[in-house]
Symmetry: C2
Subunit: 150 residues, 2 copies
């Protein structure tokens, strides 16, 4: 089903992405670039940390979540332009080797202020691991074009 | 000044990170991995997009923000463990070549429920480009250990 335009969405719509397995190499590369803390880079140091094991950066979990959602939206014929995010929570750690997917539900739809030819669709997204444990939740506010531009 | 423990923070504390210039190569690598949409990957296609030019993924802006904050906290003797994020907003596009820095203000401090030896420090962070334009804002909720564990 095409999900390109504002008019294509309804509150309560749900969808599910494909799967993404994060490798140790990818975890270390992301941590070196964007989150160089011992519990993301060094297995021995990580055992003595808050997490008790090497875990990936929460921002990498967010980036993987975006990748999964972009692939889903592209398959539906749309794009994904973020305005912002509310209530993002990292609810469980993610380790290299874990496989993630995302479920997405439309929770609100509203026109853009001022009659612009676009609107805001709010999604509640859950990022879930291979054991069905929710590792991240957030509300995404997306900018979606209207079909009619009059 | 050491900023390792919960007791080291006070509401109203402000700090500023170093600077980070994002290159075209880094922008394309991130987009290919995590946000493969035309307005992040193809300059010609980007001109016809919502953004009118090639821009970096908002999640890369978030990742760069984390890198700048981690470097700041490491210099202060601490680490940065995120519990979650509220009210993240991408307020202006970021293009390859832009140079970002972050200002951070402590807006709330509260003990962890149940008397655990840690607390939650809330920071209001602004990510700012080389023209002093705010490109991203968010509230970060960080888990910070207490000095006394009794």
């Amino acid at each position: 089903m095409s999900k390109h335009f504002y008019e294509d969405f309804a509150v309560g719509d749900t969808s599910e992405t494909g799967r993404y397995r994060v490798s140790m190499d990818e975890a270390l590369a992301f941590a070196r670039a964007y989150d160089p803390q011992a519990f993301h880079l060094d297995a021995a140091a990580a055992e003595a940390s808050f997490f008790k094991k090497l875990v990936i950066s929460g921002w990498q979990t967010a980036a993987i979540t975006m990748r999964l959602l972009v692939d889903l939206r592209k398959a539906e014929g749309g794009e994904l332009i973020g305005m912002g995010v509310d209530e993002l929570r990292w609810t469980a750690p993610v380790a290299p080797g874990d496989e993630l997917h995302v479920t997405s539900e439309v929770v609100d739809i509203k026109p853009w202020p001022g009659g612009k030819p676009r609107g805001i669709v709010r999604f509640r997204n859950e990022t879930i691991n291979q054991d069905d444990l929710v590792v991240m939740t957030h509300i995404a506010n997306a900018i979606v074009p209207k079909r009619t531009t009059s």
